[in-house]
C-alpha cells in the first residue's frame, strides 16, 4: 500500500455516482421512544463500494439508525432494502449473516476473551456446528475451527494485533481495543460495514492511520462503509457522500463540499445567528 490516506482521499473515484449499484436503501424510517422521536421519516441510499458519512449533532439519531440497521431496534415505520432483501423481515441473529457488520460507539468487546477469540466470534454467523457436534467433537467442528482461526489470524495480522492475539481484550489500551473491534467486524466478511465513531478517543496520529485504514479496507475487502463520526476532517476527507441528520430528520445530502456549505447544516451545528 504505497498511497497515503491523504492522497487516496484526493484521488477519490466517484464510484457512487457512476458505477455503483444500490446496496442499501433506507425508506421512510421512523423510530419513537415514548414521546421522543429519534428518527423521523429518514430516507437515503448507499451505493455499493461507497463510503457514506453520517453526521449530525449529539442526539440527532445517528446511532439509533445504526441500531435499526443491525436489528437491535425495530422501527415504528419504514422499510429497509439491503442487497435485494427486506432487512426488517430477517430475524435478529441472521442479520450478521446477511452481510452487515458493525463496530460500536463505546466499545462492545468480550472483555474476558482473548483478541483471537473475539475476532473468531465475528465469524460466528458463517459457521454452524452446534452443541451436539461440539460435545462429540465431530469432524465438522475441527474444520470450522481451522477456517475461523485462519481467517481471524489474517485479520489480526492486517490490524497489527499479532503480539496481543492471546491477551484478554479488557487488558488492552483503548486504541488497540478499537482495532480489535474492527477486526471482529471484518471477520464476518460483511458487504456493509457500519462504523460508529471510530475516531472517538483516538489521538491525531491514530486518526491519520484510521483514515488510511478505512480507505484500504474499502479497496481490499470490497466493503461499502457507513460512517458515523464527529471528527469532521475525517468524515469530509474519506466520504464519497455525506448525509446530515438533526433531531431525527435528514437535513442535507450530497458531496462533502455540498453538505459543508449547506445552510441547514451550518445552522444545526452553529445555531441560528438571526
Amino acid at each position: 500500500m504505497e498511497t497515503s490516506g491523504a492522497q487516496a482521499a484526493q484521488t477519490r473515484r466517484p464510484i457512487s455516482a457512476s458505477e455503483g449499484r444500490r446496496l442499501l436503501a433506507i425508506e421512510g424510517i421512523s423510530v419513537r421512544f415514548g414521546g421522543i422521536i429519534a428518527l423521523d421519516d429518514v430516507s437515503f441510499d448507499v451505493a455499493e463500494g461507497e463510503i457514506l458519512g453520517l453526521i449530525g449533532p449529539n442526539g440527532a439519531g445517528k446511532t439509533t439508525l445504526f441500531n435499526v440497521l443491525s436489528r437491535l431496534y425495530q422501527p415504528n415505520s419504514g422499510e429497509i432494502n439491503f442487497d435485494g432483501h427486506r432487512l426488517l423481515s430477517i430475524p435478529k441473529h441472521r442479520c450478521a449473516v446477511s452481510g452487515i457488520g458493525r463496530t460500536f460507539q463505546n466499545l462492545a468487546l468480550f472483555r474476558t476473551m482473548p483478541v483471537l477469540h473475539n475476532v473468531m466470534l465475528g465469524g460466528h454467523c458463517h459457521t454452524s456446528a452446534g452443541f451436539f457436534n461440539h460435545a462429540l467433537r465431530l469432524p465438522k467442528v475441527g474444520r470450522e475451527e481451522r477456517e475461523l482461526t485462519e481467517r481471524a489470524m489474517e485479520l489480526i495480522a492486517y490490524l497489527d494485533l499479532e503480539d496481543v492475539a492471546m491477551t484478554p481484550v479488557g487488558a488492552l489500551p483503548f486504541g488497540t481495543q478499537k482495532r480489535v473491534e474492527m477486526a471482529r467486524a471484518l471477520a464476518a466478511s460483511p458487504k456493509l460495514l457500519l462504523l460508529d465513531e471510530p475516531a472517538a478517543g483516538l489521538n491525531h496520529e491514530e486518526i491519520g492511520a484510521l483514515r488510511a485504514l478505512i480507505l484500504d479496507i474499502r479497496q481490499r475487502m470490497q466493503v461499502t462503509i457507513l460512517l458515523v463520526e464527529h471528527h469532521m476532517h475525517l468524515v469530509m476527507s474519506v466520504s464519497d457522500k455525506v448525509v446530515a441528520l438533526d433531531f431525527g430528520r435528514r437535513i442535507a445530502e450530497g458531496t462533502p463540499a455540498e453538505v459543508q456549505r449547506h445552510p441547514e447544516v451550518i445552522r444545526a451545528y452553529l445555531g441560528d445567528s438571526n
Binding site: M113, H134, M153
Partner: protein, 345 residues
C-alpha cells in the same frame, strides 16, 4: 503522514502459524494423566468409607461442572440446581425400583429428562436477569422436596420415605468390592462428562456462551442466537447435574425428599465459587471442598462445625479470590518462571 499511516494500512496479510505454545499444553496433558493415575490407584490405600466420600466428590464435580456451564461461562446464576440433581436422582431410582431398568441405563435417561426440563425452565428464565433469576431458581430449590412428597405420585416416589435401592455388584472379572467398583464406575463417567464439557466449552459454542455473558448486545449483533444458547446452556447444565444426581442415587442406594433441600443448591454454588468460575478443573477442586471441608470442620469442633466451615469459606475466597483453579494456575506459572532462566542458561 505517509510513514505514519503505512504501519496500519500496510499489506501484512501473510498469515503466521499459531504461536508455538506446545510446552504448556504438554504440561497440562501430563498433569491430567498423573492425576488420573493417582485417581486409579487411590482405592488401594483408602478405607471403603473414604472411598465412598471420594465417589460422592466425583458426583459433585459433575454437578458443579454443569452449574459452571450455566453460571460461570454463560453468566446465568442458579440457586436451584439441587432441584435438577433431585430430578436426576429420582428418575434413576424410579426406573430401577419400579421398572427394573439396569442401573447404568438410568443415567442417560436421567440426563435426557433433565436436559428437557432444564431447557424448558430456561425459556421463561430468558426474561430474568441477575437477582431475579436467582430468586426464580431458588423457588425451584425450595419447592422440590415438598413436590417430591406429593401423595398422588407416592406410588413412584415413595413419599416421605423415599426409595431404597440395591447397590450394584461389581462384575466378577474386576476382582473389586462394590464400593471400589462404584468408585471406578463414577470415575469413568466423570472423565467422559469432563471431556464432553471441555469439547463444548473450547469451541464455537463455548465462545458464544462467554460472549453472551460478557456483552449480550454485541453477541447478538455478531449473529449469536442468544435466546437459543441461553436456554441450551440451562438444558446442558441441568443434564450434567441430573447425571450427577442419578449416579448419586446409585452410589448412596437411597433417595428421599429431604436429601435434596435447598442447602444442596447452595453447596453446589459454594463449590463453584471456591473451585473457580469459568474453569473446568475448578469443578473438581470445588467438589473436594464441599465434600471434605464440612467433615474436616466437624472434626475440629463438634460444637460449632458450621462456624468453622464458614471460616473455611471466607478464608478460601480471601486467599484465592479467583477460586482454587486460578490460584493453582498462578502458583504454577510462578514456579515455571522461576525455573525458566535456570534452564535457559
Amino acid at each position: 503522514m505517509v510513514n505514519e499511516t503505512s504501519t496500519l494500512a500496510g499489506a501484512k496479510i501473510a498469515a503466521p502459524g499459531p504461536r508455538a505454545q506446545i510446552s504448556p499444553r504438554v504440561w497440562k496433558i501430563l498433569g491430567i494423566l498423573v492425576i488420573l493415575a493417582i485417581a486409579c490407584i487411590l482405592p488401594l490405600g483408602l478405607s471403603n468409607y473414604r472411598l465412598f466420600q471420594l465417589t460422592l466428590a466425583l458426583v459433585y464435580a459433575i454437578a458443579i461442572l454443569g452449574l459452571n456451564i450455566l453460571t460461570g461461562y454463560n453468566g446465568q446464576i442458579s440457586l436451584g440446581h439441587g432441584a435438577f440433581y433431585a430430578i436426576g436422582a429420582y428418575v434413576a431410582a424410579i426406573l430401577m425400583n419400579t421398572y427394573n431398568v439396569p442401573y447404568w441405563a438410568t443415567i442417560p435417561i436421567a440426563g435426557f429428562v433433565c436436559l428437557v426440563v432444564g431447557f424448558l425452565f430456561g425459556l421463561p428464565a430468558l426474561r430474568l436477569e441477575g437477582h431475579y433469576l436467582a430468586l426464580a431458581t431458588f423457588a425451584l430449590a425450595v419447592a422440590t422436596p415438598q413436590l417430591l412428597k406429593y401423595k398422588a405420585i407416592a406410588n413412584w416416589t415413595g413419599g416421605v420415605e423415599g426409595i431404597n435401592l440395591l447397590k450394584p455388584d461389581a462384575p466378577a472379572w474386576m476382582h473389586v468390592d462394590s464400593d471400589q467398583y462404584l468408585y471406578y464406575f463414577t470415575l469413568a463417567i466423570t472423565v467422559v462428562m469432563f471431556v464432553i464439557g471441555w469439547n463444548l466449552l473450547r469451541g464455537r459454542v463455548g465462545r458464544a456462551l462467554v460472549a453472551i455473558r460478557d456483552h449480550p448486545v454485541a453477541a447478538e449483533a455478531m449473529g449469536v442466537n442468544t435466546a437459543y444458547h441461553k436456554a441450551m446452556a440451562f438444558g446442558v447444565s441441568a443434564l450434567y447435574t441430573g447425571v450427577a444426581g442419578a449416579i448419586g442415587a446409585i452410589v448412596v442406594a437411597y433417595v428421599a425428599p429431604d436429601s435434596f433441600d435447598f442447602l444442596l443448591s447452595i453447596f453446589l454454588l459454594v463449590g463453584l465459587v471456591v473451585g473457580g468460575l469459568a474453569s473446568i478443573s475448578g469443578a473438581i477442586y470445588g467438589a473436594l471442598f464441599i465434600q471434605f471441608a464440612p467433615n474436616f470442620a466437624a472434626d475440629l469442633s463438634k460444637a460449632a462445625p458450621w462456624a468453622i466451615f464458614g471460616i473455611f469459606m471466607i478464608g478460601a475466597v480471601y486467599v484465592m479470590p479467583g477460586g482454587v483453579a486460578s490460584f493453582v494456575q498462578i502458583v504454577w506459572d510462578r514456579i515455571r518462571r522461576m525455573l525458566a532462566p535456570a534452564r535457559g542458561t
